[in-house]
Each structure stands twice: as structure tokens, then as C-alpha cells.
């Protein structure tokens, strides 16, 4: 027994390390792809970026600021080294350091994502729990209906509808999420409600469906059949037999949906004019500020890849038997 457990632990550790290395590799691949995107441009990158405003002087200036005269590999390594030191380059528009304006925006995005998770996660997990408890019941069908709605309806429909109802008609919430850095958390909350509600509807479908399926799958396990035969009520079975085993799958569901949440933020921030990283990136897209777009893209990609990695690690840690197969 002892030897087997130790061997098992070693296997899990090895799998975890493998997953971490894989995640690191994915991060590097992502950074490389983001960097190479500028190379997609035909002909001279600087001239293509500037378009109609290209004069010999502006092209030469852009060449200097993008470091285009050095070979590609050197430029990539220099960029990556800068990123590692926290230097994300210079904006093409206002020539200021990108990192300075990016990080405050990113904390706002994290605030919105965090606020949304606080509301959405318990709600969706409970709905999934109820769905597994009474599959096909009216509450389950209601939530399935909401899930289909949330899968099909674009964020901007929900967002503008909420603005129209709660801000324009009822005047109880602000239409624009004009959050400023010098506000206290309490002052920020009214501005967070509508964006967070929109995001909640965006991620509800996946959270609810994945929770429900994870719990229903576990209910099919032999030990749950045994509990049924013992005569335990279904709610008790889920609480004491399913949930302890559901920690890993549920942690997976939650982290995976956090990753989707961070991407959903881009559109929702634009709807409400919320000063987060998503809106900042869309702003940069509008101005074709390529270094800024790359920096924001890298931060989003890193969050996405890391959360996916954490999700996989949760599964590995929660179910050591996976290590053996």
C-alpha cells in the first residue's frame, strides 16, 4: 500500500510538472504568435501600419521605434526580455510607456471579473446542483432555457437591453461604468452592477451545463448506486457522496470559466465604457497602436493559458487515479 501510494504521488507530481512545462511552452508559443502577427503585413511593416500617413520621415521613425532594422529573432528576444522585466514597449500614439497605462486598466478588469465570479459562480453552481438533483424538473428546464438564451444572445444585446431598462427608463443605475481609480470600492459598486450582470449571463450557460453534467456523471458511479440501494435520499447522496468527489471537476469548471470570463470582458467593457484592459485594447485596435495591442493581447493570452493550466492541475490533484491510466 505505502509503496503504491508513494509511486502514485510521484506519478502525479510528474504529470503536474509535465503540465506546467506544457503551459510554459504554450505561453512562449502564444508570445511568438502575437509577435509574428506584425510580420503578416506584406511589404514594409512600418509603411503598412502608417497607411496613408506614410511619409519617408514617419516610416523611418516607426522603423526606429519598432526596431525593424534588426533581425526578427533578435527583435523577438529583445521584446520578450523587455516583457520579463515589465517593459511592454512604447505606444505608437502617445509614445508613453505601455506598462504604465496598462496595469491600472488590468486591475479594473480583474475587479470586474472578480465581482462577476462572486455573483455568477454560486448562482450557476447551485443551479447545476438543483439540475442534478431534479433533472428534467421545472427549475432544471428553466435554467436550461436561460442557458440556451445565454449561448445565443450576444453580450451587446443583453448589455444595451439592461442599460435601456435600468439606466434610461428606470434611472436606478448608471449607464456608463465611469469608474475612476481614486474611487473607493463602495463607490465603484453601483457602476459594476450592470457590467457584472451582463457577464454573468454570458458565462452562466457553460457553468450551469458543466456543473450539472459533472454531478450527473458522478451520480452514475457504482458507489452512488450503492447509496441509492441503501435508501438514502438523492439530496443526501449528492451532498455526502458526490460533492466530495466533485471538488476536482468543479474546480476545473470554475477555472475554465474564469478563463472565458476574462475574454468576455473585452466586449462587455466596450458596451459600458468600463475603463478596463479590454476597452483599452479595443481603443488601441481603433488607433492601430500595434505595440499596445500586442501587449494587451499578451496579458490576456497569459491569463487564459495560465487559468487553463490551473484547471488541468486541479483535475490531476483531485483525482490521483488519473495519473495511473
Amino acid at each position: 500500500m505505502g509503496g503504491e501510494t508513494r509511486g502514485n504521488t510521484r506519478l502525479v507530481v510528474r504529470r503536474l510538472l509535465f503540465r506546467l512545462v506544457l503551459g510554459l511552452g504554450t505561453l512562449i508559443a502564444a508570445s511568438l504568435l502575437i509577435f509574428l502577427c506584425t510580420e503578416l503585413l506584406p511589404g514594409d511593416v512600418a509603411a503598412a501600419i502608417l497607411g496613408r500617413e506614410a511619409t519617408p520621415e514617419t516610416v523611418a521613425a516607426l522603423h526606429r521605434s519598432l526596431d525593424l532594422d534588426r533581425p526578427l529573432a533578435v527583435r523577438y528576444l529583445a521584446w520578450l526580455g523587455g516583457v520579463a522585466r515589465g517593459d511592454l514597449g512604447q505606444s505608437l500614439v502617445n509614445h508613453r510607456a505601455i506598462a504604465e497605462s496598462l496595469w491600472p486598466r488590468f486591475t479594473h478588469t480583474l475587479l470586474l471579473a472578480g465581482a462577476t465570479s462572486l455573483v455568477a459562480m454560486p448562482f450557476a453552481l447551485l443551479a447545476g446542483y438543483a439540475g442534478a438533483l431534479w433533472p428534467g424538473g421545472w427549475f432544471d428546464r428553466l435554467n436550461s432555457g436561460i442557458a440556451v438564451f445565454s449561448l445565443s444572445v450576444p453580450e451587446f444585446f443583453t448589455g444595451y437591453l439592461l442599460i435601456l431598462i435600468f439606466a434610461v427608463k428606470l434611472h436606478i443605475l448608471p449607464a456608463l461604468a465611469a469608474v475612476r481609480e481614486d474611487m473607493t470600492l463602495g463607490q465603484k459598486i453601483p457602476f459594476l452592477i450592470l457590467p457584472a450582470a451582463t457577464l454573468t449571463i454570458v458565462i452562466f450557460a457553460h457553468l450551469f451545463r458543466m456543473t450539472r453534467i459533472a454531478l450527473l456523471d458522478l451520480l452514475d458511479a457504482p458507489y452512488c448506486e450503492m447509496a441509492v440501494l441503501k435508501g438514502l435520499p438523492r439530496g443526501r447522496i449528492i451532498l455526502s457522496h458526490v460533492l466530495p468527489n466533485a471538488v476536482a471537476p468543479l474546480a476545473y469548471v470554475v477555472t475554465l470559466n474564469l478563463a472565458h470570463l476574462v475574454l468576455g470582458v473585452i466586449v462587455v467593457e466596450t458596451i459600458f465604457g468600463y475603463p478596463g484592459l479590454g476597452q483599452w485594447m479595443v481603443d488601441a485596435v481603433g488607433k492601430r497602436d500595434i505595440p499596445a495591442i500586442q501587449a494587451a493581447g499578451l496579458v490576456f493570452a497569459a491569463v487564459f493559458v495560465i487559468l487553463n493550466m490551473v484547471a488541468d492541475c486541479c483535475v490531476l490533484l483531485g483525482n490521483p487515479r488519473l495519473g495511473r491510466s
Partner: protein, 264 residues
């Protein structure tokens, strides 16, 4: 739920038809300026006027063509790429399979929206770049499914027998693999279409839609959004049209998977 699928199919068909024959149905020039911006609904203009004073309904009908056309184009191309590569990997096996799978896995691990945003802001949005970018990025999902399905088929006895008979690649794909994977792949096609359709709408909303004078539903939401603050719901019409199409596709897919399960 079951009747919902049929209703959805009829609705979807009606919307598509309306977009195709739109000008016959509604003889209003979608580019003509007919009054002040955001004029409310009236008998003459059922959905009111848009941000430039053009008829909203006429623009919806024309915009639908671009939105649906772009999504159809991207989905078809992504299926050609994904199925081609997936079948090739399954048939070839060995290092070809390994290499292709690794390459697609790396793309699959990337957040789609971020990459499309970066690529399109570098290349500039046009019908060709939008379709090509989305097709390449979305083909990763198609590849994964096509490869798995083809591998399953190739492991069956009838496929082994065909191989031993010395059948060539066209026969293996056309007569052995495709007939057996057509159903799951077409269900996936519906799902991919609605995903790509919503993504194109989101991109256009974020400012990466087709340049004017062309317009699609996502850009229409963007252009008419400022009126929301004035209590004018103009932006909600194109948004609702987007939701309607996606919801219909989802409902039809639900219906199909339901009848599939019953058959099983």
C-alpha cells in the same frame, strides 16, 4: 423542445429568405437618407431610421447578407481546412499525424478572440481577411473532431479490409470515412457556424467589421449604440437579429441531437 426545433427551422428559413429577396419585399433604398437620425418607429419606417437617417429595416435586410455570408464563408473554409488536415493525419498516421496534431493543439490553446483581434487589426478588416483568419483559427476545432472520427472509422474491420484490398486515398475518404462521419460533422458545422457568426458580430461591434459602405449587423449595433442613452432602441434591432439567428441554429441542433438519441 421538439416543436421548438421545427419553429426555429421555419424562422431561420424565413429570415434567410427575407435577407435574400429583401429589396423585393421592401422597396426602400437602404443607402438613402430619408429623415433625421434616429427618427422613431412610424408607419412609413417600421423600425425607424438609423444613425444617418436611413431606413433601419432595409439596412437590416442588406446587413444580414454580409453577416450570414461572412460566417458561411468562414465556416465552409474552416471545414475544408480542418477536415482535409484531420483526414490526412488519420490516414497518414505516424509523424505526419504527430506534427499536425501538435501544431493544431498550440493554436487550440490560444484565446480565439485575442488572436483574431490582433491579426485583423494588423491586416485591416476586409471580407477576405475576416474569412481567412476565422477559418484558420476555427479549423483547429474541426481538425480535432475530424481526426478522431476518421481514426475511429479506420480502426473498423471494413476500413481495414478496404485498405488491404489496396484502395487509394480518394476511395478511403469518399466511400469509407465520409459516409460514416457525415452526421457528427454536420452537427459540428451548425455549432461552428453559430460560433463564427457570433464572433464576426462581436468583431464588427468592436470596430473590426467590413469598411463602409458595406455594413453588417455587428457594425449596425456599434453605429446605433449612442442612441440607447436617448431611450431609442435602434441598436437592439440588429443585436436581436444576431441573437435570433444564433438561437435558431442552437434550437435546430438540440432537436437533431434529440432525435439522434431517440434513434440510439
Amino acid at each position: 423542445m421538439r416543436r421548438g426545433g421545427i419553429v426555429a427551422a421555419i424562422l431561420l428559413g424565413a429570415v434567410l429568405l427575407a435577407c435574400v429577396i429583401g429589396p423585393v419585399l421592401l422597396p426602400v433604398d437602404p443607402d438613402a437618407i430619408l429623415g433625421p437620425a434616429w427618427q422613431p418607429r412610424s408607419a412609413a419606417h417600421v423600425l425607424g431610421l438609423d444613425n444617418l437617417g436611413r431606413d433601419m429595416l432595409a439596412r437590416l435586410l442588406v446587413g444580414g447578407r454580409t453577416s450570414i455570408g461572412l460566417a458561411l464563408g468562414a465556416t465552409s473554409l474552416s471545414f475544408m481546412l480542418g477536415i482535409g488536415a484531420g483526414f490526412a493525419a488519420a490516414l497518414a498516421g505516424g509523424w505526419v499525424d504527430h506534427l499536425l496534431t501538435r501544431a493544431f493543439e498550440i493554436l487550440l490553446a490560444m484565446p480565439t478572440l485575442i488572436f483574431v483581434l490582433i491579426i485583423l487589426s494588423v491586416l485591416g478588416p476586409s471580407a477576405a481577411t475576416i474569412i481567412l483568419t476565422l477559418a484558420v483559427i476555427d479549423s483547429t476545432r474541426v481538425y480535432r473532431l475530424a481526426r478522431l472520427l476518421a481514426r475511429d472509422v479506420l480502426a473498423q474491420e471494413y476500413a481495414l479490409q478496404a485498405r488491404l484490398r489496396g484502395e487509394g486515398i480518394p476511395w478511403m475518404i469518399g466511400r469509407e470515412i465520409l459516409p460514416n462521419v457525415a452526421r457528427p460533422l454536420s452537427a459540428e458545422a451548425g455549432l461552428r457556424f453559430s460560433f463564427v457568426f457570433l464572433l464576426i458580430a462581436a468583431l464588427a461591434y468592436l470596430g473590426l467589421g467590413l469598411p463602409p459602405p458595406l455594413s453588417d449587423w455587428g457594425s449596425m449595433v456599434r453605429d446605433n449604440a449612442p442612441a440607447i442613452g436617448l431611450g431609442n432602441p435602434a441598436a437592439l434591432y440588429p443585436a436581436a437579429a444576431i441573437a435570433l439567428i444564433a438561437a435558431c441554429v442552437h434550437a435546430i441542433l438540440d432537436r437533431l441531437s434529440f432525435s439522434e438519441r431517440r434513434r440510439a
